[in-house]
Symmetry: D2
Subunit: 332 residues, 4 copies
């Protein structure tokens, strides 16, 4: 399904090498000022080519408002924002059509869509689509800012290539002429207690649902996460120490019973190494049935993890905005 | 939201100490034979009291068919199944009303529901609700069995209290007079390639969404998971070695680009230590504002992880059944 | 799909001659007092056997709270309410199994569900299910009452057997030994302007969606309705005459552009004559392929229209409550 | 909500005088050939300026494929189609900002969206959006055509200005210098039995839901419709006369119990007279609080009913395609 959300809802479209990618944001309250400049910072953080280790393919990434913005403010109608795919080079991929790249969606896409999938650059499965998530996230953040200015969401790379020194992790990839994975940690502070809709829309459920929509994500853990599995109960439990629900420790990552408890919401996301690596690899040529050795040319990231934080921030902002809106119903 | 699923959809209701808990399963194909005996094995696996380390509270757990089953077969109408809460002891919890138990949803439930939440035994947030998931899973498994007999879903505890020897992990909890967490690993083999609905309903998105609805889950990872973050691309990529998409390795856990690739779907789930521990703990008395020391009496599990595998299996079966049904639309 | 609604959501289950029918109401705010007595009046209005022209099958129709109500108030968790089917006589229908009754869902139910449908008394397609809608409506009305006491919803039969004198219409049926249809008119006053969610969830869209879930409904029209098709624009337009949107006339039925405009919401619903008529009818015997003449024995209504008003009121209350909740998101 | 559908799902965006309007179609099977020429006929039928009585505002209405079409065929990914708003004249509406036009959404739009709504030409509430429905309908029809070639959907104006002679009805409007309403009748033949998803997604529920999204619709009736309310049961019931469910009469309009029964699906839709009439009208000036007399200049239809049939056909095709896809799940 190409839509996500209950009251703050987004729908995406587009392929890596089609004319454009875009997103409709439905349910955004009216009256929020919005200009292309609002998107600049987050789009830059996502964009490749601005930093060592990210792809030299640089789209201009200018958000084009197609609807929902009137006289510089959201109008209440669905907001459509598109991004032109100006810097595509379809020919890079033609040679690889027969040979599905390992780690990529090439093979499953053809399988799912009976051979009709747009294979250029991953088509609809491309990380290019995350520019839509960032755009929607900018709006979600503005919604939060206007009514819940205390909420701050911040994500960053905390591990790269298995190392907590990120530069060293990147150097490791450069030295190995290979790509590396990483860990992204996200913290949302100022989140009011009470967000999450049992039984199935726990805060973790919604966050993980949309986080796993981001290409290259392999795992997610909240609070102490996998380490919790090795702990004792008395050690893991977070004692409540004030009437606002503040806890002494925060092993739960700010979510208990699927509901935010007013403490920092913290989670970590595992990003796999970029599938497109300069290293030689093998895969089956589906036309000949022979194994072939090749290396992916194109323009790619040494570690996609470097571009993921702003995307994680964006989807987190959307989920929080949506849950806040749903929570309002109690006021009726 | 108390519902989950697109074509195979479930809705749950009930509280730990109310008269019953139950589930409606909507979208189950007609003509599948169904009797209480079909549920016995999975319900036993979930039930406490049958094994060292699980709670002595034992519900009879007899599934009562309220609708949707006619002459021993599913009729096509929504199937409602309930379980009577026969073995409740409300008084155990009355003393704890003022003192929200650390690690439990007690405090957030009152916060979310403005003080009106049923606090007895966790109310709607209780693990008791997972009996509904198991019941729905039994039906999902029968749906799979009738049309995709090659699919086998199997989950088990692979780590307890930080140890891969499960008995040793349990003994560790007994010795420490505390509860412990664990890791549950789930493998689904025989899953056809092509399941998952981009952009937002990736197979991982749907599985993680419902897995995080299960109380006490703190993390999930697919395939190599968090380890992938420390790997090189050429090392992590799974070379395709036959025309059916079989890969040499399976670091991706059978899901690429959010779509099943025909290899085993594998994921691991982190279960936190049971919040109710015999150990002494402290929490704030919300009536007096004083910190209090107490220990949870009641009847509880040394490790809830021991009861989680069948629940994880169940929700996985539901997601796979739903995705198979959605995939059928291509046949139109 | 057995669910309806976005924030105030209901799911139903059950068959006419199964053990019970029931409904889960999800999203009801906590703290609303609720007792079986609250349901009495509306359930009586729906129930047969209390008035000339309605079926002598009288269920006790005692609402049984299975969840979501704690200490006499809604707890915030899903509310499950069931009604026991105490007064069933399965044998009445056995003879008709082979001969699908004209006007009933007998034949389509078997077709849709591949012959496995519960055929007794219409099974899941029975009007019996409307008791669930009335129960959910009682709660919706209480939600409205607690926050929008100005809203009043009132539905009644305004035509029976083609006559505006209802008693005469009923006598017409009695004289003809046949069933008759009728018109139900519903007015909701005090509805705030601004309800409706474009583009697809217009107020008319949501009301008509759920109204057509009620068995036996053949048409719906808002305001002047079908008569509008024969009017001039200047005649049909409602001039706005005060700053609150009050209009001089109300041809639009209180909804313009899919959004409530603060005037009375008015719509009319066409109810077909009860399909079960004492009159002789013919239908094909599906086992023999022969046409057969028969008359439906059982216990049935001379005009189902008499029981429909409270059901229409109930579903209208649900839609308004849901739209009010959704509208709250603007406050975020 | 700006989305509709379960498996065949559409999302729309745009305003009358914004840069473009558009639609995303999600869930379309891959491999269906699609070119702009496929849209020509239906877009022409909808377009004004080609026939007496319709608005001289003529958009070129060239569908622009933004995604989901690859090498002339649907790729399986979401299909985004946009239409440029080339022929807008914003200044026509500036004078009317303060004076909400009777019958239009002007006032409710400002009310709902707190004064931030795009008021030019009705903004998001404009009939301009129906071009999106027609585009989605073209695709839905192609889906049906490829697998269910027996299905034919046909809608036409059967009454205009209260007259069954359409030309006479139009002349009536011209003579009166006013707009008129009309009746649109839609017939879908070849629809297989079994479509509709109880309890809430009856075929009538889904059709009416989306039909009432079309601006200017005031009523809908299936089969005999409102006339059924004045009939006897034995007269209204349709005797089944063959094993395929063929009925002697078709008072039910091909839908019984919310499920298609294999006979023609027939329904009628009431279209109100175009709100923009050349006639003088009065409305309140919201800035001065005075009533003002004015006549709408702009370019408008004498009867919007003339443009509605193809829109009704389109949304009917979508609903049928979606229900067919959902019905496939039984095959799992």
């Amino acid at each position: 399904m190409n839509s996500f959300g209950t009251l703050f809802r987004i729908s995406v479209y587009g392929e890596s090498h089609g004319p454009e990618v875009g997103v409709i944001i439905d349910g955004c309250p009216p009256g929020i000022s919005l200009s292309p400049a609002d998107f600049e910072n987050d789009l830059n953080r996502r964009r490749g080519g601005v930093r060592k280790g990210t792809t030299p393919r640089t789209e201009a990434d200018i958000p084009i408002f197609k609807s929902g913005v009137f006289k510089g403010k959201t109008s209440g109608a669905p907001i459509c924002i598109s991004f032109t795919n100006s810097n595509t080079r379809g020919e890079d991929y033609d040679r690889l059509k027969a040979i599905p790249r390992p780690g990529h969606a090439d093979w499953v896409a053809q399988k799912k869509f009976a051979g009709f999938s747009d294979y250029r650059g991953g088509g609809h499965f491309s990380g290019r689509l995350t520019v839509c998530l960032v755009a929607a996230g900018v709006i979600a953040k503005k919604v939060l800012q206007s009514e819940y200015p205390a909420i701050h969401i911040d994500a960053g790379v905390t591990e790269l290539g298995g190392m907590s020194d990120i530069d060293a992790g990147l150097q490791k990839a450069i030295d190995a002429k290979d790509s590396v994975g990483g860990i992204v940690t996200c913290t949302a502070s100022g989140v009011p207690a009470g967000l999450g809709e049992p039984f199935f829309d726990s805060a973790e459920s919604l966050i993980s649902h949309i986080v796993f929509s981001i290409p290259a994500i392999r795992g997610i853990e909240f609070g102490t996460g996998f380490k919790a599995a090795g702990m004792f109960g008395a050690e893991h439990n977070d004692p409540i120490i004030n009437p606002d629900g503040k806890t002494e420790t925060n092993h739960s990552g700010g979510i208990v019973g699927g509901i935010s408890n007013g403490n920092d919401v913290i989670f970590r996301v595992a990003v796999k190494p970029t599938s497109s690596t300069p290293k030689e690899q093998t895969s089956m040529n589906m036309e000949t049935g022979e194994m072939e050795t090749f290396s992916v040319k194109g323009r790619h990231d040494l570690s996609i993890a470097l571009r993921v934080p702003v995307v994680v921030e964006s989807v987190t902002a959307m989920v929080i905005a949506d849950l806040l809106m749903q929570n309002e119903r109690v006021r009726v």
